[in-house]
């Protein structure tokens, strides 16, 4: 069995999760404060990948970053960056596609924390950043972990977007889900089964680990 699709998938999921963590924390914090129309529009845009067919997103990314014209041509000419049929293209697509899985749980967790926690911290002379790092983040660890794992697991299973913008180039864009599809197309059910089992096992272990970690935090109201 060729292991490269598995490694590529894990690499893609890890990089996407890391990027989304850096982007997601400030964006979720910003969205959790206040409810202006502008914020509602931004939140709706971030949430779109949840409801859009992945092929729609993939199609528009393919058009937008096509090196033949517009933004794609400009990026190619000025920075020699090509997002179509490349690994960086997969990362970009995954970041957009998995964004609601990172931002949603963090934003909800922030909104569920009592406002008095931040207020108490401010009266002690602490800035918003200090309060976020020392008070808010540690008190939403379970949700943060859920967001990280959801993002990672969701990226592992991407297919439509990846196929549209990345194609099926071995060692570059041929991730596990594409390899499964490819194997089935070639009637190689044994290989498809190996990849599928591996993906199943990896995601199952991750989800179990999260449930075990969050066991203490999740208390039934009937206990």
């Amino acid at each position: 069995m060729d292991w490269s699709p598995i490694w590529l998938t894990l690499r893609l999921a890890a990089i996407t999760t890391a990027i989304l963590l850096v982007i997601g924390l400030p964006v979720a914090y910003w969205l959790s404060k206040g409810r202006s129309i502008f914020k509602i529009v931004i939140e709706a845009i971030i949430t779109m990948p949840l409801v859009l067919p992945p092929s729609v997103l993939g199609f528009y990314l393919l058009i937008a970053f096509s090196p033949q014209h517009g933004l794609g041509l400009w990026l190619q000419q000025h920075f020699n960056i090509q997002f179509v049929f490349s690994f960086q293209g997969l990362v970009l697509a995954s970041v957009i596609y998995s964004m609601p899985f990172m931002i949603g749980p963090i934003k909800s967790a922030l909104q569920q924390l009592p406002i008095s926690l931040s207020q108490a911290s401010y009266t002690l002379g602490k800035t918003e950043l200090q309060t976020f790092i020392k008070v808010l983040l540690p008190n939403m660890r379970a949700s943060l972990l859920t967001a990280i794992v959801l993002t990672f697991a969701h990226t592992l299973g991407e297919f439509g977007v990846v196929l549209m913008i990345g194609g099926n180039i071995p060692n570059v864009t041929r991730v596990a889900s594409i390899a499964i599809y490819d194997s089935v197309e070639n009637m190689d059910y044994a290989t498809a089964n190996s990849y599928s089992l591996l993906l199943f096992a990896i995601t199952f272990v991750i989800v179990i680990a999260v449930f075990v970690f969050n066991k203490r935090a999740a208390k039934s109201p009937l206990e």
């Binding site: 009592p114 008095s116 926690l117 207020q119 108490a120 911290s121 401010y122 009266t123 002690l124 002379g125 602490k126 800035t127 020392k134 008070v135 540690p138 008190n139």
Partner: protein
């Protein structure tokens, strides 16, 4: 001297009601704030601390303007550094008793004194969920005192304490407040409990 002259629209069961307060509070004094439920006692404390904003008004402390809605001046809560004891305590679930105080100050001597005052010396490694209601309330009080505030705002600070602890703490609190030369405003539903230490009263209708 704290000069307060504010007006704030508050949401009520049917529409809005207006909180209007005009008062002068002498420096280094203890003032109790009383009034019926929903009259805006907590809101007044939050306005002084900079945690909520009135539509109209001014707050001056020792001739420094903290709030002036006409001049669009509003000092953030971080710069006002009012000690604030929240009605629901607002303790940080991730921090132990000691960490709460160390988050507020690095003065270890002062921390020891506060722990002794609140009778929490033996519980320094406990997180709030392992403290009783009274212990949590005492932690809320000493966390607010930890920053040695110029103004100490306390919202029902003795409601969870038993009679014995209340009788022990209130006179000691007066000593501590005197030591840090703070001006103290205490919201209470039980005005009599402050008879011994209160210098003034504000009644909010």
């Amino acid at each position: 001297m704290i000069v307060i002259d504010i007006e704030k629209k508050m949401r009520a069961y049917e529409g809005h009601r207006l909180l209007q307060v005009k008062a002068e509070v002498t420096s280094n004094s203890i003032t109790r704030i009383t009034g019926p439920s929903g009259s805006g006692k907590t809101t007044l404390l939050k306005i002084i601390a900079g945690l909520t904003y009135p539509e109209k008004g001014k707050i001056l402390t020792n001739s420094i303007t903290w709030l002036d809605t006409d001049a669009k001046l509003n000092l953030p809560p971080q710069k006002r550094k009012c000690g604030f004891v929240f009605q629901g305590y607002a303790l940080f679930p991730n921090m132990t008793v000691k960490q709460h105080l160390e988050y507020a100050t690095s003065d270890q001597e002062w921390i020891s004194e506060l722990l002794h005052f609140a009778k929490l010396e033996t519980l320094i490694r406990h997180k709030p969920e392992y403290l009783s209601g009274g212990q949590q309330q005492r932690l809320g009080i000493i966390r607010a005192l930890a920053i040695k505030p110029q103004i100490l705002l306390m919202d029902e600070p003795f409601s969870a304490l038993d009679v014995e602890m209340r009788q022990l703490m209130i006179p000691q609190l007066k000593v501590l407040i005197g030591k840090i030369e703070a001006t103290c405003l205490i919201v209470t539903h039980n005005p009599q409990e402050l008879d011994e230490i209160a210098d003034n009263s504000i009644y909010i209708k």
